[in-house]
């Protein structure tokens, strides 16, 4: 039986989960920056993973500046940053981090009665793009401080 899930519950879960993913896999401290404005990235690397079920659909996007994405890739692979030279390595790490974030959300939704499956990750790179949700889909942004940089988790979700 479905429990009641509010968008605020989703935001609270994702906040805890992002901090856990960054701490466990990257040994990097990230903290929510409440009321922060969306950062203006130059080149951006965005990971996306969708989820879909009979009673819930949506997607999670992880937006990082290109320098932070390289830093995250180096941290996850245990390599010095100067050894991260290819977009492929960075894309794979950002995709995997997004996969972990969405996998955790999927588990939390399933345990709350909203069964769903997740897609494989996709990466978007660019300097000027925006992602628009479909009608009736709620969108939330969570901005985090991570060292000297900022990152954004964007959640699109429709609960039936």
């Amino acid at each position: 039986m479905n429990q009641t899930v509010q968008i605020t519950d989703v935001k609270e879960f994702m906040t805890r989960h992002l901090v856990d993913v960054f701490d466990t896999m990257l040994s990097m401290k990230a903290s929510l920056a409440p009321n922060a404005e969306l950062p203006q990235f130059g080149e951006r690397v965005s990971g996306s993973v969708g989820f879909a079920g009979e009673t819930v659909t949506g997607a999670v996007y992880l937006h990082l500046s290109a320098p932070l994405a390289s830093h995250v890739a180096a941290a996850m692979l245990g390599l010095p940053p100067e050894e991260i030279t290819g977009e492929h390595e960075v894309n794979d790490v950002v995709g995997e981090a997004t996969n972990m974030l969405t996998g955790g959300l999927k588990s939390w939704l399933c345990d709350s009665g909203f069964d769903c499956a997740v897609s494989t990750p996709a990466i978007i790179r660019g300097t000027s793009f925006s992602i628009e949700p479909l009608p009736d889909v709620e969108r939330e942004w969570l901005v985090f401080d991570c060292g000297e940089d900022r990152l954004v988790v964007e959640i699109h979700i429709k609960l039936n």
């Binding site: 692979l77 390595e89 794979d92 790490v93 995997e96 939390w108 399933c110 494989t120």
Partner: protein, 143 residues
Amino acid sequence: MATKILSVDDSRTIRLIVGKAFRPYDVQMCEAANGEEGLAAAAREKPDLIILDVTMPVMDGVTMLTKLKEDAALKAIPVIMLTAESGRDNVLQIAKIGVRDYLVKPFKEDQLIEKAGRIVSLQKKAAAPAAPAAPAPVAPAAA
């Protein structure tokens, strides 16, 4: 003889992290990027342990595990599932098919080593012998 471990994951990142975790040990790693390649690698390499991702293209981990357990030559190979999904139903499903253990992403390398070490023998690699001391320079003969 080194313990042979097969890492099956579509993410090169995760395969690198798994390989890095076992680097201090006398382990021979082999890799596959999906369940189909994983089954072929398991038949070819006869690993002592498989670290298997759940969500992969071409053939996912649950399907690979099911086929592995149906194959008389491969069904005894122990499997640790690596999953980003910790939900009850997901864990119950993979437990029913027959995994030795599972690990939820995100995970620490120590957790993987601990779980693998309960199933296979992990011997630390011997430290490389110290390089022999360079011979002392010979003093030129006095004129």
